[in-house]
């Protein structure tokens, strides 16, 4: 592993071309007791050292630009460079978020059009772009559901229903909004257990959080029945849009009966994940909830685009970020949508689904077990290595690490929690058949290795900068900043 940037530091070194002209610098009239005494121990390096250090670090990553990355639930598709270039234009980068509307019509036109596109795609009535990732979108939606019930003076609804297959952000969000989470079990075919759902609902039910297709990689067929069950007891439906890639232009959450949803633009709309973010999670709402959307939104009048704030939206749940969300990501999503057009969006779902079903078929033909063998794959699917774990003592984790050695990013492991030793595989529509075939071939090889050289799997990865890392030790005695000793304590 490379040195830390701090190890490259030498007292007095710096990137001179970056310093401001020091004509005025010492003219501070700030009282001494408000000033810092000792400078922060930031690295003192030259510009070349910084460039070289971080360039080399970057090369240690797998990424879409370098590797197949079939990480289920994450939609690691190609991030078009044209979109990136468009969003990086100086005019966009330089606009202050509080610039007057007259200096903002270019940006606002893009944001407004994105709102319209997302309305069309979701079948919802209105869209707010401010949430900054999927989880904040969820928060927004659940807070809106809560605001809706409260607005109707209905404060008895204390429970949020969440299927056991749900992503962890769903229960965490419900809890953060003050709800008690009630889990709904999944039946053998990957659907929500309708009987259990019926048994769970009541006047205490605020709503349900669902994704469809679910994180199990299958489409919830009884979705209209579910919607009816909820609506009949006065509950509302939240749609987790993480899997929208599977159904773009094919079926719309609004039509399924959902009241509110988020869209992960960093998944379906191809904005880069940035090694963990930024994302963007716009929220779309139907009739019941549109009035509660967070501000600001962009409206359009005869004279141009205008900001809609609390004044125009008296029932809004308010503001969720300092300004207007992850604007740069919104621009990217808008530009991506413009490159696709309506037909292109449909194709996304079609080819993502084609790729997933093809892989599923080939892997099961090769002897792997699908978690839901009777079902079609959506844009992703699950195989379970329960059998292999028993027979060869090879876990899903082992297989994941072995895939890394083969130059492929591992699928999502151990999620959803209810399927033992599972791999959630999402190829996305932008990968070629040859790449899918290469992945399948590697999996077949690994299956053989389980019998012939299991150590090769157990000891993987061997060809990466580090071998398996001790996560337990890391959590037991966390070392999360370097050289604690140099921190100046108060």
């Amino acid at each position: 592993m490379p040195e830390l940037i701090f190890d490259l530091s030498r007292k007095g070194r710096c990137a001179h071309a970056q310093l401001p002209p020091n004509t005025l610098q010492n003219a501070t009239d700030i009282p001494a007791e408000l000033l810092r005494v000792q400078p922060a121990a930031l690295p003192e390096v030259s510009e070349l050292q910084a460039v070289r250090h971080f360039t080399r670090l970057s090369q240690l990553n797998f990424s879409i630009d370098t590797h197949f990355y079939p990480l289920g639930s994450c939609t690691m598709k190609y991030n078009p460079r044209g979109v990136h270039k468009a969003a990086q234009l100086p005019g966009f980068l330089q606009r202050h978020p509080l610039a007057p509307e007259s200096h903002s019509q270019g940006y606002m036109a893009c944001a407004y059009e994105l709102q319209e596109i997302l309305k069309s795609v979701t079948g919802m009535r209105a869209v707010s772009l401010t949430p900054m990732a999927g989880a904040q979108g969820e928060f927004t939606g659940v807070a809106m559901i809560r605001a809706y019930h409260h607005a109707r003076h209905d404060r008895a609804r204390t429970e949020m229903l969440v299927p056991d297959a749900a992503h962890g952000t769903n229960p965490a969000t419900a809890a953060q909004c003050g709800y008690t989470v009630r889990e709904i079990p999944t039946d053998a075919d990957g659907n929500v257990n309708i009987d259990a759902l019926r048994a769970a609902v009541g006047p205490q039910t605020a709503g349900i959080m669902l994704t469809n297709p679910s994180t199990l990689g299958v489409f919830e067929q009884k979705i209209k029945e579910i919607a009816a069950i909820l609506h009949d007891v006065g509950g509302l439906l939240y749609y987790d849009g993480a899997n929208l890639n599977a159904i773009l232009g094919k079926v719309r959450p609004g039509d399924m009966g959902f009241d509110v949803m988020h869209i992960n633009l960093h998944k379906t709309f191809a904005t880069p994940h940035g090694g963990g973010g930024p994302g963007s999670g716009p929220v779309a709402a139907g009739e019941r909830l549109a009035a509660f959307l967070p501000t600001p939104m962009v409206g359009k009048s005869a004279t141009g685009y205008e900001w809609l704030t609390a004044k125009a939206c008296p029932q809004t749940i308010g503001r969720l970020s300092t300004f207007m969300g992850n604007a740069g990501i919104l621009l990217r999503a808008h530009f991506y949508a413009r490159l696709l057009g309506a037909a292109g969006m449909q194709r996304v779902a079609e080819f993502a689904t084609l790729n997933a079903n093809y892989m599923l078929k080939r892997l099961t033909a090769a002897g792997f077990n699908a978690a839901f063998p009777k079902r079609r794959a959506s844009h992703e699917f699950i195989i379970t290595l329960k059998k292999e774990a028993k027979e060869y003592h090879i876990s899903a984790l082992d297989v994941a690490k072995r895939l890394l050695d083969a130059g492929m990013h591992a699928p999502t492991m151990y999620f959803p929690l209810l399927v033992p030793e599972c791999l959630l595989i999402e190829p996305t529509e932008t990968e070629t058949r040859e790449v899918l075939d290469a992945f399948v071939a590697t999996m077949i090889l690994i299956l053989k290795e389980m019998q012939t050289q299991p150590d090769k799997i157990k000891q993987a990865p061997q060809y990466l900068p580090v071998s398996r890392l001790d996560e337990v030790a890391a959590a037991r005695e966390p070392e999360v900043v370097a050289g604690q000793e140099v921190i100046e304590h108060a």
Binding site: F54, L57, G106, Q176, G328
Partner: protein, 451 residues
Amino acid sequence: MPFIPHTQQDVAEMLSVIGVDSIDVLFDEIPADLRISGLRDIPPALNEMALLRLAATRAEQDSGKLCFIGAGAYEHHIPAAVWEVATRGEFMTAYTPYQAEASQGTLQVLYEYQTMMARLMAMNVSNASLYDGASALAEAILMAMRLDKKNKIHRIVLPTNLHPHYRDTVHAIVRQRDTELLAIPFDAHSGKITVEMLEKMMPDTFTAFVIPQPNFFGVLEDIDTLTDWAHARGARVIAVVNPLAMALLKPPGQWGKKGADMACGEGQPLGVPLASGGPYYGFLCCRTEDIRQLPGRIAGRTRDTHGRNGFVLTLQAREQHIRRARATSNICTNQGLLVTASTIYMSIMGATGLRDVALTCHANARLLRDKLKAVAGIRCYFESAYFHEFLVQLNCPVDGVLTQLHKKNIQPGLATKTYYPELGECLLVCVTETKTPADIDYFIQQLICAM
């Protein structure tokens, strides 16, 4: 078929492997009455050439302005190397580093970032980012509530000279729980929070006290006094700071006798462009002993099976994908790429560079402030110490002046009337190192014309 690599032959062969006739059949589990045949109201596809031309036209509309607005987002010079390196495909198109061995680049960057941010704040530990400044404050407050085992009702003291959008965000996020958010007014003369006011208005016990430095008006608070006052009452202190300013000003870990308990804020000034308000990133630092209540991802150093150093995401048991409803926060995707850029920015600037930038901002602000004071009809509203932003009051309606200056492509500052009608015709003006003496003179000259 933008971005889809399938040839007709691929499709035919893949369908035959699956054993279906058409792609459409793959959607046969979806109830037929739900399926739609196409999307409406979506403009037809553009090719990249047309898209870039459209984007250039749009970007052009908003560009070429001389900006003196601050109010939470600050125009700074960003070394070209920062984003050239941060947007390398390997950083930009990677996911969250769940497979640590295949993500050592991102993980080491996070570890280095955490170290830098902790050092800049003079705090023990930092997480790997939250969404933005306002939501980071909300998370800090929720964290303080989790840490407060004494009080039944959690009271949070929020001064009214905290950025109004931060206050709004905190309200929207925190009021989902049983909390009291107590607004403490600022001193009308100094623009600061005073102990007199606190003693008069605040209850004996409360969970946390939020102290902005600088505050919304650019004014510097008496952080030592305020911190000690809060600590004396058993409350936690949450510092909300401009991180760039901390290269010059006393950092939260050194406030008062014990230091602030948490430091949070907006990371944007450290290498992130204005970009219409985002993506930015929120930072949050705390004491070592509180780390298990710290929300968001954290990178940690560990060893591999051969004993070599390496990095992982650690303390994941706090997070939603493991702890689910009992997680410290629901945050999952954070603002990783911004942190990467910020880490490169801080590396290139170093402590001296950051301090020089902060000093230049202050000196430039002082220059403009002095010149504004000399203009008839303008007065500085508060005569307190400030960083790089200050409030001026005009003797005429701000709106008219704004309209005129906007026509000249000058953004002279933020009108505060919407937020603080009681302050009258005021403008919050910010100057950073990006402004030359000529810019400042031009501003003054045009302002005089417009008044």
